[in-house]
């Protein structure tokens, strides 16, 4: 990820400094720990005075990613961990997530298409929204498998018309 300097907002110093780390923790890959992490990340983003649309998108996308990792990457592997780093950059926020679970099938991200809603009542989808939500809430998304680790990066920029 690029580490170019960022001009700070007027609440802080006016000189150029490195991107600011807002959150950097490793937590157990289980649902209640995910909840706590999401709450802590929301607090960190709010304290950094990021706009509420951006905060909402980060929470939504990370909830889906973390739950996917808990359910799919770590399924049947017992307990695992998730490392998440949230960095404030000039255009918004960059989030790096590392897990040691199974690789994404084909070592690529899913298409993330919206499930078909033009179906009968009893066939309405009860899932399959996760990657669609992640893709639509992010402005950049990448995934790499390296050794036994999954590296996922999500980029969020302030959307002016949000």
């Amino acid at each position: 990820m690029s580490q170019r300097p960022v001009v700070m907002g007027k609440k802080t110093a006016s000189k150029n400094v490195d991107p600011i780390t807002l959150y950097n923790f490793t937590f157990p890959a289980e649902q209640l720990a995910v909840r706590t992490a999401l709450a802590d990340i929301r607090t960190a983003l709010e304290q950094a005075l990021l706009d509420s649309d951006l905060v909402g998108r980060v929470e939504s996308a990370l909830a889906e990613l973390f739950n996917n990792i808990v359910k799919h990457a770590y399924a049947n592997q017992g307990s695992g961990t998730l490392k998440c780093t949230v960095t404030k950059t000039a255009p918004g926020v960059v989030v790096n997530v590392i897990d040691h679970g199974k690789a994404m099938p084909g070592h690529t991200l899913p298409d993330g298409d919206l499930p078909n809603l033009e179906v009968g009542f009893s066939d309405l989808p009860e899932g399959g929204f996760g990657w669609f939500i992640i893709k639509s809430q992010t402005d950049g998304l990448s995934y790499e498998r390296e050794g036994a680790d999954n590296y996922t990066q999500l980029v969020f920029e302030v959307r002016r018309n949000a």
């Binding site: 649902q31 989808p125 939500i133």
Partner: protein
């Protein structure tokens, strides 16, 4: 999951007393709604006024609860906060559910 229940006119208003309907609480949500709707009015209004966050598991649980009611009954939604509303619009679930701005609109049958 704690659920407040009130009969208002022809509707059964169910209000989850929860911050989040998410992966960690989706099953409890479904169980609570099922238990509360075994019988009673054909129209359910799910009042999401306390809920600040819904993820795809929560969304799935709301759809599953609506489907469980059967095609002869109806589940409408009311009082979605901006983040929750966004999830419904993004996933086009706002085309599946009738969404009311608040409980008064939902029970007064005035669509927003």
């Amino acid at each position: 999951m704690e659920l407040n229940s009130a009969k208002t006119g022809e509707a059964h208003v169910l209000t989850p007393i929860a911050d989040r309907i998410d992966a960690a609480s989706a099953i409890q949500f479904k169980d609570a709604i099922r238990a509360a709707t075994v019988d009673g009015p054909a129209r359910i209004v799910l009042d999401l006024g306390h809920v600040k966050f819904v993820d795809s598991s929560g969304l799935g649980a709301i759809v599953a609860s609506m489907k469980h009611l059967g095609a002869g009954r109806k589940m409408d939604l009311a009082a979605l906060n901006p983040d929750v509303d966004k999830v419904f619009r993004l996933t086009r679930m706002d085309t599946v559910f009738t969404i009311y701005e608040d409980l008064d609109a939902a029970t007064g049958q005035v669509s927003t």
